[in-house]
C-alpha cells in the first residue's frame, strides 16, 4: 500500500495505490476549505499522521490522526510563541508551515516550523507544543531573520540527524541554514559558499534564502540544498557548500523550490527548475516543465520530461510539494499550483498525471 498525502490550499486529499503503484485512487477532500501546509505520516508509528492547518479566518493549528487519516483531533496546545514581556515584540504564529517527526529513539517527539520564524517541539505525538526558546529567543534571531518578506519568513526543512537526536538543521527563508548540536538550545549559521546576490553583502554569514534542505538518511553527513540562488551540496564536517547547480544547462539555470533525495543512493537527487529571472515568475521554464536528476552528486544533470506537458504548462511546484518513495524502482511525486499531481515509478524516466483540477497543492508526502 502506498499513500501520497496532498495538502492543498482548500483541503486534504490522498492518493492511494496497491504495492505495484499502477492504479491510484483519489480520496477526499477532508477539511474542505482549510489551508493545509504540510501533512506528514509518522515513519515510527505509521498509524499517526499530523497536519498543519488553518483557515482564511481562523488561527493556525495542528490536527492529529491515530488511524492513518480516517479521523482527526485537534492538538490541545497548538504551536504558539511565549507571551511577550513588556516592550518585547509580540509575536504570534501566523501559520504552522512545516512538520518533522523526531528521532527514531524518541517516539512521540515532533518539531514544527512557523511563520513568523519559530520552532516548536512536541513530546506527546503532537498533542501539546512548546516553543524552543534556544531558537525563538536566540540573541541573534533579529539579525538572522530578514523581516518584512511579503508572505512572512518561513521555518522549514527541520532535519533530525538519524545518528544523533540532539543534532538538528533548519532552514529559514529568508535567513539561512542553521545547525544545533544540543536539541535546539543553541544555533550557528551554516551558509558559507552559498550565494546571496540580493544582499548588500553577498558574503554575509546569514540572510540567505534556502528553499529546501535535505539530508541523506544513509549518509547523514551529506546535505543538499535548493536555494533561491542555486543548488548546493555540503559534505560534513565541511562547512562550505559547493554549488552543484553550476553543472545545470545554462538556459535552465539552477533555481527552484524542492530538492528530493534517492532513498538509498546518496549521489542521486532530483530538482524541478523554475524561472527565476527578472521579476521571478517561478513557473516552469518556457512553459515546458522538466525534472532534472543527478546520479553523481551534482557533477552532471539529466533532463527528465517524458510524459510531462511539452508546452504551455506554466505551473509552480512548491518546496513541500515533491517527494520520493522508498521502493526499489523509486517513485517520485509532485503537485502543482494548478492542482495536478504527477508521478513516476521509474526514478523520473517517465511521468504520468495521477490527478487533476485539485486546489493549489502545497504539500506532497509519501507514506508506505
Amino acid at each position: 500500500m502506498s499513500t501520497v498525502w496532498l495538502g492543498t490550499r482548500k483541503g486534504l486529499f490522498a492518493l492511494r495505490a496497491d504495492a505495484r503503484r499502477r492504479t491510484w485512487k483519489l480520496a477526499g477532500p477532508q477539511f474542505l476549505g482549510h489551508i493545509i501546509h504540510h501533512v506528514v505520516q509518522d515513519p515510527r508509528a505509521p498509524r499517526t499522521v499530523l497536519m498543519a492547518a488553518k483557515t482564511g479566518h481562523l488561527g493556525p493549528t495542528v490536527f492529529r490522526s491515530s488511524d492513518r487519516g480516517r479521523t482527526w483531533r485537534e492538538a490541545s496546545q497548538p504551536p504558539a510563541f511565549r507571551k511577550a514581556a513588556e516592550g518585547e515584540p509580540a509575536r504570534a504564529v501566523e501559520r504552522v508551515f512545516w512538520l518533522t517527526p523526531g528521532h527514531a529513539s524518541e517516539p512521540g517527539v515532533w518539531y514544527a516550523g512557523s511563520t513568523p520564524a519559530g520552532l516548536f517541539r512536541s513530546e506527546d505525538g503532537g498533542e501539546r507544543w512548546e516553543p524552543i526558546a534556544g531558537f525563538n529567543d536566540h540573541p541573534m534571531r533579529s539579525k538572522w531573520v530578514l523581516n518584512g518578506t511579503p508572505d512572512g519568513e518561513l521555518v522549514h526543512s527541520i532535519l533530525v540527524d538519524p545518528r544523533d537526536a540532539r543534532h538538528l538543521y533548519v532552514g529559514i527563508s529568508v535567513g539561512g541554514v542553521f545547525e544545533s548540536a544540543d536539541r535546539g538550545a543553541d544555533w550557528t549559521p551554516l551558509n558559507e559558499g552559498v550565494a546571496a546576490d540580493f544582499l548588500p553583502d553577498p558574503n554575509a554569514p546569514f540572510g540567505h534564502d534556502p528553499h529546501c534542505i535535505a539530508q541523506h538518511r544513509a549518509r547523514p553527513d551529506r546535505l543538499y540544498q535548493q536555494n533561491h540562488c542555486g543548488i548546493y551540496r555540503l559534505d560534513r564536517p565541511g562547512r562550505r557548500w559547493q554549488r552543484i547547480g553550476s553543472a545545470m544547462p545554462k538556459k535552465i539555470g539552477d533555481i527552484g523550490f524542492p530538492i528530493v533525495l534517492h532513498p538509498t543512493d546518496p549521489d542521486t537527487a532530483w530538482v524541478l527548475p523554475m524561472d527565476g529571472q527578472t521579476v521571478w515568475p517561478r513557473t516552469s521554464i518556457g512553459g515546458k516543465p522538466a525534472v532534472y536528476r543527478t546520479r553523481d552528486a551534482g557533477r552532471s544533470w539529466q533532463r527528465l520530461d517524458r510524459g510531462l506537458p511539452g508546452e504551455r504548462a506554466w505551473f509552480t511546484v512548491l518546496r513541500q510539494a515533491m517527494c520520493a518513495d522508498a521502493e526499489a524502482r523509486t517513485g517520485l511525486y509532485f503537485g502543482t499550483t494548478g492542482g495536478d499531481v504527477w508521478a513516476s515509478t521509474n526514478g523520473g524516466d517517465s511521468w504520468r498525471c495521477l490527478a487533476s483540477h485539485l486546489p493549489e497543492i502545497y504539500s506532497v508526502t509519501h507514506a508506505a
Binding site: T55, G56, H57, L58, G59, T61, E74, S76, P78, A80, F81, R82, K83, A84, A90, R91, A92, V93
Partner: protein, 88 residues
C-alpha cells in the same frame, strides 16, 4: 453575568453546530475563557497567543465593535463573533 454569543460558521465545528450559545463573564476575556472551557480550542482560533483578536476576526458586544478583550459585557448582551475575509 450571562450573555448570548453568536458563533460564525467557521467555528461551528467547536460548538457541535450551534450558531448561538450562552456565555458567562463580565468582560470579553472572561466570556471567551468560559467558551474555551466548554468548547476546547475555540479561543486560539480567534485570539492569538498575545491576546490579540486575529486579523480576520471581529468581535462585537451588541452593535459596538470591541478592539480588545477588556471590553465589558453585561447581563443580556449579545457577543457577535464575525469572520471577515476577502479574496478567493
Amino acid at each position: 453575568m450571562s450573555c448570548t454569543v453568536r458563533i460564525a460558521s467557521p467555528l461551528h465545528s467547536y460548538t457541535a453546530g450551534a450558531a448561538r450559545v450562552g456565555g458567562r463573564g463580565n468582560t470579553l476575556a472572561e466570556v471567551l475563557g468560559d467558551l474555551e472551557q466548554r468548547f476546547p480550542g475555540i479561543r486560539f482560533r480567534m485570539i492569538d497567543e498575545q491576546d490579540r483578536i486575529r486579523p480576520h476576526m471581529r468581535l462585537f458586544v451588541n452593535s459596538e465593535e470591541a478592539r480588545d478583550l477588556a471590553a465589558p459585557v453585561r447581563r443580556g448582551d449579545t457577543v457577535h463573533v464575525i469572520c471577515a475575509l476577502s479574496g478567493g
